[in-house]
């Protein structure tokens, strides 16, 4: 299969090998990946809680979304970069892992949701700026985001476990 061949080729590159065999670099990248969860997912959860109307109802939704984005985006960039490096270190074993495959699907869902959300909802949030309940579209966007990211975290954690890897 071509995808597996590409992964095998990637695994043989110097970058992949040195990262995989490093004493400190790999655990360091892994630690950054996990701890950036606070910055990226923590603030995303706060934003989603506002979108669903569960919490932060006193804060204007538009302002909250606009002010948190500049922190969430770099957080996502760090997540994506460190995540890519972790994949680079073990491409073949990762891509064949069930949990990683599930994680990719959930990431796609979360990504599509984030891409669609601004067009449908964020364009006119002025009228639900404060106390009034958010429109249904915002609640759905927030709910989908919360559910998808919860799954991404769980699937991500499971990648570390061997028993989920299909025996080849």
């Amino acid at each position: 299969m071509t995808l597996l061949h590409a992964c095998d080729w990637l695994a043989a590159t110097r970058w992949s090998t040195s990262l995989r065999e490093s004493t400190y670099a790999y655990p360091a990248v892994e630690s950054v990946h996990v701890l950036t969860l606070c910055l990226f997912l923590g603030l995303t959860i706060a934003m989603d809680l506002r979108l669903t109307g569960v919490a932060f109802r006193r804060l204007p939704a538009r302002e909250m979304v606009a002010r948190l984005q500049p922190w969430i985006r770099p957080g996502f960039a760090v997540m994506a970069l460190t995540g890519s490096l972790l994949f680079l270190a073990n491409p073949t074993t990762t891509i064949t892992h069930r949990a990683f495959q599930v994680k990719l699907v959930l990431l796609t869902i979360a990504g599509l949701n984030a891409a669609i959300f601004p067009r449908g909802v964020y364009r006119s949030p002025a009228h639900w700026a404060t106390a009034a309940g958010p429109p249904l579209a915002a609640r759905i966007a927030g709910g989908v985001s919360l559910a998808a990211w919860t799954g991404v975290v769980a699937a991500g954690r499971l990648i570390a476990y061997e028993f989920l890897r299909p025996v080849s």
Binding site: P27, L35, L37, G42, L43, A55, E63, R67, L68, R157
Partner: protein, 156 residues
């Protein structure tokens, strides 16, 4: 403390998690989700204290809901953390990263619910900018310590 660790290790929870394939990773996932909740709430309030986000929003409005998220997240983390600990309590007893984490956690909790709490809840005009920034910096430092040493447990 060693007796406590032994008791945890031999408890039904400890036994069950140790002998199950799925339990440890799933509880770990829950622990990580709690991390996001706690980390997000801590960041939200501290970045606001530093004046880096949402400067136009009253601190009290932000803090009220952030504290609910923090306490909810802490309950999730402490509960799932206790389960994880129970499954390998005797190993954790001698783990230096785990010990560091518990020290940082105690300090972070103490600071958050005493000095930090007072800074957040006093009248914004009456607390100097330096005090607010200092409280935010100490809080961020202590919670980072908990997170970093927590991740390090797996490396020792």
């Amino acid at each position: 403390v060693w007796t406590f660790a032994e008791w945890c290790q031999q408890s039904a929870i400890g036994e069950a998690v140790r002998h199950s394939l799925w339990a440890f990773p799933l509880v770990e996932s829950v622990h990580l989700l709690g991390l996001a909740l706690v980390g997000g709430a801590v960041l939200l309030v501290n970045l606001r204290l530093l004046g880096w986000i949402l400067a136009g929003v009253p601190l009290a409005d932000l803090a009220r809901d952030a504290e609910r998220a923090l306490i909810g997240g802490l309950v999730i983390m402490l509960a799932s953390g206790f389960v994880l600990f129970s499954s390998e309590a005797e190993k954790m007893y001698g783990n230096s990263a785990f010990r560091t984490k518990m020290l940082c956690l105690a300090a972070a909790l103490l600071f958050t619910f005493t000095i930090h709490w007072r800074v957040v809840h006093s009248d914004e005009q009456r607390v100097s900018g330096v005090t607010r920034r200092l409280a935010a910096a100490i809080s961020l430092l202590l919670w980072s310590g908990v997170g970093i040493s927590g991740r390090a447990i797996g490396f020792f």
